[in-house]
Amino acid sequence: MSLTPRIGGEVRHGPHVGLDLVRLFGAGLAAMLLQTTVSPHIGVLGAHPDFVLIIVVCVALLRGAEVGAVFGFVVGGLVSVLLFEPAGIGAFVMVTIGYLSGRYAETVDLSPGLLPVIAVLAASLLGGAMYALAQFLLERQVPTYYVATRVLVPMAVLNTLLAAPVYLVVHSLFGGEHHARVLEA
């Protein structure tokens, strides 16, 4: 698996693999702690931001589909473990999010600076819908209107608002030539 940063399918000369692993570990740990201790206290209409999803999308945008999928699997799985939630759901959703975000970054022109924000918005809606489907399959309550208006939309809005600052932090952590397009926008 390549850990070199890639944009629009173009492989760039990246930092040392070991250093990149340390950065991924740092980003993963930050995601887990933010998700379990900070996120529950930031709420709008009862929904909370999903820091894991935002960070997985940002990492996938900066490092590609493979790294995004593996990072999503590890972090999504660990957050489920830490919250005593059924292991596997978070991992499944985050693998999908990481892979698709990475593929998106590898295949489209990334010059528009709002890409991370749009990617996070799309990923939030997809991730939320996947979680809801998983709950439905586990025979738990999934009232459609409530889920749409009090879970999916507020969470997507919160995630989108947080996307730009989180992307800037993740970007500065991982470095690379693809500097903060969000600011340019």
């Binding site: 909370h48 005593f84 292991a87 596997g88 979680y131």
Partner: protein, 276 residues
Amino acid sequence: MGRRRALRRRLVAVILLLLSVALLTLYFREPSDGPVHHAQERALRLVAPLQDGTARVIKPFRDSWNWVADLFDAQSQNGDLRAEVERLRQQAARELALERENDELRGLMKVRDDPIFPRDVTLVNARVIARSPTAWYSTVTVNVGTDDGVDLYDAVVNGQGLVGRVSSLSPNAAQVTLLTDQDSYVDSSILPGGAQGLLAGSVTGDISLQYVDKSQRVERGQVVVTSGRTASIYVKDIPIGTVSEVAQQDVELYQSVSVVPYVDFHTLDLVMVVTR
């Protein structure tokens, strides 16, 4: 070269997705002391101190955020509260009279109050170090576990009333399923009157009493407590909340009773685990 790369990329994604499904299947099929649950305990043992530290560090910021949120709430609730004050003033006058009457009766009959908790229980202080931010699970993680004498299904309370029950354990942390969780069921009584019902949570965070017999008279404002019946995991008379709405339909066998909990689940910080 590009084709091989694309193939490998897809292969990685498919393998990880299959692993996730396998993990999920194993989680639900294995017993509670199976390898996945054990891995959860071990991981939590490592990360719980970090979560504890982070929770303490962010507490001032969290309190500030809550303060600002409360300020907005207070403004919008001002009108309602004025009416509430008037109602409570009248109620307080009635209660003072009742309290005096109660003291007199107690003296006459020499009836001792039942203690809320039996003598063979111990209260273990705990701090909330993490909570599920999703709507799907109303759970919190507290910083005590088997090392502190906490056991599975122990009740968790705070100064306001019943918080929930211990649903998973590690040596230094425990998951508490809150009353509002859709998997939470508490055998409860309504006082006065003693009507019995099963208090259930929901995905919306509302709680309601189910299976309350229609012949039982239930009114708004009555108090809901744990019943503490023989098979119940909760000790008797832990306060839960007050009845906010009672609905009866001819086609239903039971009446539907909505309950407002005493505990503010959004600001949970310090709790106590009732160990037996």
